[in-house]
Amino acid sequence: MPLEEDELIRKRQRERSRVLAILLGLFVVLMFAITIAKMSVNR
C-alpha cells in the first residue's frame, strides 16, 4: 500500500474515531436526560 494512501486511511480513522466518541458521549447524556425526564413525568 502506498505511503500516502496509508496516511489517508489513518487520518480518516482518527477523524471517525473522534466523531464517534463525541456521538457516544452525547448519547450517554441523552439517555441520562431521558431517564430523568421519564421519572419526573411518571412521578
Binding site: 494512501e5 489517508l8 486511511i9 480518516r12 480513522q13 477523524e15 471517525r16 466523531v19 441523552l30 439517555m31 436526560a33 431521558i34 430523568i36 425526564a37 421519564k38 419526573s40 413525568v41
Partner: protein
C-alpha cells in the same frame, strides 16, 4: 440493479462527512420541521427532553431512509447530473458501508423512539422508514409514473409521528396533516421533474413528464393541487384550528393555485423557459413551511 462504479470507496474508510451527506440533510430539514410542528400542535404537555428526543428520532429515521435510498439507487444517481457527486456514485464510499450505516441508524432511531416516547410513535416511525425504502425506492420508483403519488406517503408520516409521540394516539388533525403532505408531494416533485426531466429520462426513471409527457404533467399538477388545497383548509373548516391557520392556509393556497394555473398555461418545453415550474417548485417549499408554522402559531400564541 447494477453496482455503481467504485474507486477509493472499496479500500478507504468512508469520511464522516460523506456518511453525513448520505442522510440527505437538506431533505431532512423539512421532515424535522413538519415532525416538530406535529409534536407542538398536539394537545397536552410534552417534557422538553422527550420532545427533543422524539424529533431527533424522526431526523435519524429520515436520515436512515435517505442512506438506504442512496445505497439502493447508486446506479441511478451515477446517471443524473444532480446526484452524480453523491458519496456512492462518486466512489468515495463502499456500498456495504452505506447499507450498514443505514440499517444501523434505522434500528437505533426506532429503539430510541420507543424508549423516549411510546410504542405507537416507534411503530409509525418504523413503518415510514420501511415504506420509503421498500415501497417507494425498491418497488415503485423504477416501475411506475405514479411513484411520487404513492411514495409521497413516506414523507407525510413525520407530523403523525410527532403527534403520536405526545398523545400516544392518532386523531383527525394529524391525519389531515398527513393528507396535506401526501397531496402536496405530486405537484412539488412534478414541478421539479418538468425542468430536470432529461436527467430522469437518461437515468430511465419513469417520472410523469418522461412517461406521460409535459402537457399531461402540467394538467395533473393542477388536478392534484385542488384536493391538496381542500386538505390544507380542512383543519380550519372542521374547527380543529383557529383563525390564524385559517387565514394563512387560504392565502398560501390561493398563491399555490395561481402558480399551478401558470404552470398549466405554460407551453414551453425547454427547461430555460420553465419559469412558472421553477416558481411553483420554490413556492411549494415555502407553502409547506408556512402552513405548518401557522399551525404551531395558532396552537401556542392564540
Amino acid at each position: 440493479m447494477t453496482s455503481a462504479p467504485l474507486t477509493h470507496g472499496d479500500s478507504l474508510p468512508a469520511d464522516w462527512r460523506d456518511l453525513l451527506a448520505l442522510t440527505k440533510p437538506r431533505v431532512m430539514s423539512l421532515v424535522v420541521f413538519t415532525g416538530l410542528c406535529g409534536l407542538l400542535a398536539a394537545p397536552g404537555p410534552v417534557h422538553p427532553v422527550l420532545g427533543f428526543a422524539a424529533v431527533l428520532c424522526i431526523a435519524l429515521g429520515a436520515g436512515a431512509a435517505g442512506a438506504l435510498n442512496q445505497w439502493y439507487e447508486a446506479d441511478l444517481d451515477a446517471k443524473m447530473k444532480r446526484t452524480a457527486n453523491r458519496p456512492l456514485p462518486a466512489g468515495r464510499m463502499s456500498r456495504q458501508t452505506a447499507l450498514h450505516f443505514g440499517v444501523g441508524l434505522a434500528v437505533f432511531s426506532v429503539i430510541l423512539m420507543d424508549l423516549a416516547a411510546n410504542h405507537l410513535a416507534a411503530a409509525v416511525l418504523a413503518i415510514s422508514i420501511l415504506f420509503y425504502v421498500l415501497v417507494y425506492t425498491v418497488w415503485l420508483k423504477r416501475r411506475t409514473a405514479q411513484n411520487i403519488v404513492i411514495g409521497g406517503a413516506a414523507g407525510a408520516f413525520p407530523p403523525l409521528i410527532g403527534w403520536a409521540a405526545v398523545t400516544g394516539d392518532v386523531s383527525t388533525l394529524p391525519i389531515l396533516l398527513f393528507a396535506i403532505i401526501f397531496l402536496w408531494t405530486p405537484p412539488h416533485f412534478w414541478a421539479l421533474s418538468l425542468f430536470v426531466r432529461t436527467d430522469y429520462a437518461n437515468a430511465g426513471v419513469p417520472m410523469m413528464p418522461v412517461v406521460a409527457g409535459i402537457e399531461s404533467t402540467r394538467r395533473q399538477i393542477l388536478v392534484y393541487t385542488l384536493p391538496m388545497i381542500a386538505a390544507a383548509v380542512a383543519p380550519w373548516l372542521l374547527d380543529l384550528t383557529g383563525w390564524v391557520y385559517g387565514i394563512f392556509s387560504v392565502i398560501l393556497s390561493a398563491i399555490f393555485l395561481v402558480l399551478a394555473f401558470q404552470v398549466f398555461a405554460n407551453k414551453a418545453s425547454e427547461p430555460k423557459a420553465m419559469g412558472p415550474e421553477k416558481r411553483l417548485f420554490a413556492f411549494s417549499i415555502v407553502y409547506l413551511f408556512g402552513l405548518f408554522a401557522a399551525l404551531v402559531v395558532d396552537r401556542w400564541l392564540i
